[in-house]
């Protein structure tokens, strides 16, 4: 298909990519430049900083806002990784059964996953808030991990089922015919084929958990607060100072890991995002 394009069309398409790329990264560059502006320059109306200053980063990593940001970062990492690992493990079992075994209720499981994934999150907040207050899970990491499963589990089941359906499972038997034991066949043939799908699913789940704000501000007050929620409640170094620079520095720090993941695993993430939604 591409070969049909003339050089002129290729050039035009190449030029069209420039505004798209600018569009995609402009708010990130803006956050970065805002975070590097010294507080006196915040209101200078310039896109790029005139002087580079690291005071905002110092403030949240070692300075006065350290106790707000660092625990939130730790909470985010623990809660999101736990929710991701739990849902990917559970979804791997479920997706294996859906792709490989013949049992009634496959469709029910997939439909339930779909229904859960379109569920309005805020509708879960009131009853869970009430229940957590009653049983003491309010403002705890576990109290966030459990509702996060409603975000990460359905997408994991969908994505992994789609991945597993594409695995040539009969290669396992082929390996056994060639003299491999069942364990060898599983370890040397199936695991390498399944790992990329599991890994991609984990990345997508992690993004979704990492992004959550609704549960985080509703179900925590201080101890279990994650980064997105902490950002919303940041205060300035003093009562009269806006927390703009500190928020931007914190935002940049939590954005770096996801951008790195995207850069490294772009192809897989795209495959995972679309395989669950559109038959490809």
């Amino acid at each position: 298909m591409e070969s049909n394009l003339s050089t002129r069309d290729k050039t035009w398409l190449g030029l069209a990519a420039i505004p798209i790329i600018i569009y995609s990264i402009i708010p990130i560059i803006w956050m970065l430049s805002l975070s590097l502006k010294p507080s006196g320059d915040l209101a200078d109306g310039k896109f790029f900083p005139r002087h580079v200053s690291w005071t905002n980063y110092a403030l949240i990593l070692t300075g006065g806002a350290k106790d707000l940001f660092l625990p939130a970062l730790a909470n985010s990492v623990v809660v999101c990784l736990s929710a991701t690992v739990i849902s990917v493990v559970l979804a791997t079992f479920a997706a294996y059964a859906i792709a490989r075994l013949d049992f009634p209720g496959k469709k029910l499981i997939l439909t339930t996953a779909l229904a859960v994934s379109i569920f309005p999150v805020i509708s879960l907040v009131t009853p869970i808030y009430n229940l957590w207050r009653a049983i003491g899970l309010f403002d705890t990491q576990i109290g966030l991990i459990i509702p996060y499963l409603s975000l990460t589990l359905p997408i994991s089941i969908w994505t992994l089922s789609a991945f597993f359906k594409q695995i040539p499972w009969e290669m396992e038997q082929a390996a056994q015919v060639d003299g491999a034991t069942s364990w060898q066949a599983f370890r040397k043939v199936i695991i390498p084929l399944a790992t990329p799908g599991v890994f991609t699913t984990a990345i997508i789940s992690f993004f979704i958990a990492w992004n959550d704000f609704v549960f985080a501000i509703s179900l925590t007050s201080e101890r279990a607060r994650t980064v997105p929620a902490a950002l919303a409640f940041f205060t300035g170094a003093s009562q009269f100072e806006q927390p703009t620079g500190a928020i931007c520095a914190a935002a940049v720090i939590v954005t770096i890991p996801v951008v790195v993941l995207v850069l490294f695993f772009q192809r897989r993430i795209v495959a995972g995002l679309t395989s669950g939604a559109v038959k490809g």
Partner: protein, 322 residues
């Protein structure tokens, strides 16, 4: 790859056939049991974290129940619903949410389609483009909200300065975007659109890739213009992908919360349905009222789904890869 996957499917089906014929052999029964043992935990947890809370909300919504005064809890049947549905604020929130949903989904579809078409054909920075487009998807919504809020804020922003320069001084430098309902909504929508268009365009790209390019070529040979080919060939052939993308984005846009919370906190009449639910429950500790709002929001989302599935004939089971 595809042919192998199909082979696997064929291999499974005679087994299923036999199982049905011979009133479940031991092997088939064992397979069923294993299937549920493997998939059961995930299934039960999904129900536990959604079905249970929403049923609980349905029950709580029938009470006048304030967390700060639990002893005064009393059964009021549908009174909470009556209070909400006769309140002008609720309908304002519904109107705002519908407006945000319509604006963002339409813009995202047009932009997403354009992006998908460029990504589908592009040769030179193909990989770079597909990587960069994922950046907004991966950014935390709250971060996006802060970025756009600060960009348009009077004190720290650059947007007013740029607009001022672009209009040769006609645009006031001190224009307060967050001082009015519609200008606030414009920025809220901008952030929402920026963040979610890439996801839309990836879904559309997957649909676009399945359209047989020979059809497009044939129409081109017959002298059809670009727009004719788009409307008569490309779009009808990727209808299923479009509908799924629109449904998902509509449901997602209707639950909008993060952007509004960060940018205006619901001031200037920009409160959305989700924000109303949050305020009732968390800010005012009105569990009964908050539950009623939650149930109403849930019903609206179900309603949107039903409309899409019935009116637009979106076959989710088919398109969603089963």
């Amino acid at each position: 790859m595809t042919s192998l996957a199909e082979d696997a499917g064929h291999e499974a089906s005679p087994q299923a056939h036999r199982a049905r014929k011979a009133a479940l052999s031991d092997r088939a029964r064992a397979e069923r049991a294993l299937g549920w043992r493997l998939a059961g935990p995930a299934f039960v947890i999904m129900l536990a974290v959604t079905a249970y809370p929403i049923l609980n909300a349905l029950w709580l919504s029938l009470f006048n129940y304030r967390l700060t005064d639990p002893n005064a809890r009393s059964f009021v049947l549908l009174q909470n619903y009556v209070v909400i549905l006769t309140d002008g604020l609720w309908w304002t929130a519904v109107g705002i949410t519908v407006a945000i949903t319509l604006i963002t989904v339409v813009v995202e579809f047009v932009l997403g389609m354009a992006l998908a078409m460029v990504m589908n054909k592009i040769v030179i920075p193909r990989r770079t483009l597909r990587t960069v487009i994922l950046v907004p998807y991966a950014i935390i919504t709250v971060v996006s909200a802060f970025a756009w809020k600060y960009a348009f804020a009077v004190d720290s922003g650059f947007a007013n300065h740029w607009l001022h320069t672009l209009t040769f001084g006609a645009f006031p430098l001190t224009y307060d975007w967050f001082g009015g309902t519609w200008s606030s909504l414009a920025i809220i929508c901008l952030s929402e659109i920026w963040k979610t268009t890439p996801f839309m365009s990836l879904l559309l790209l997957a649909g676009l890739a399945q359209v047989d390019s020979a059809l497009d070529e044939a129409a081109k040979v017959d002298g059809a213009t670009f727009w004719q080919r788009l409307y008569k060939v490309t779009l009808p052939n990727m209808k299923a992908a479009i509908m799924v993308a629109l449904l998902f984005r509509t449901l997602d846009a209707f639950r909008i919360f993060d952007n509004v919370f960060i940018m205006t906190g619901g001031s200037q009449n920009t409160s959305t349905v989700s924000l109303v639910a949050y305020n009732q429950t968390i800010s005012r500790a009105e569990i009964g009222m908050g539950s009623a709002v939650s149930v109403l929001l849930f019903l609206i989302v179900v309603g949107i789904c039903v409309v899409f599935v019935k009116a637009f004939k979106v076959d989710l089971a088919q398109v969603k890869g089963d």
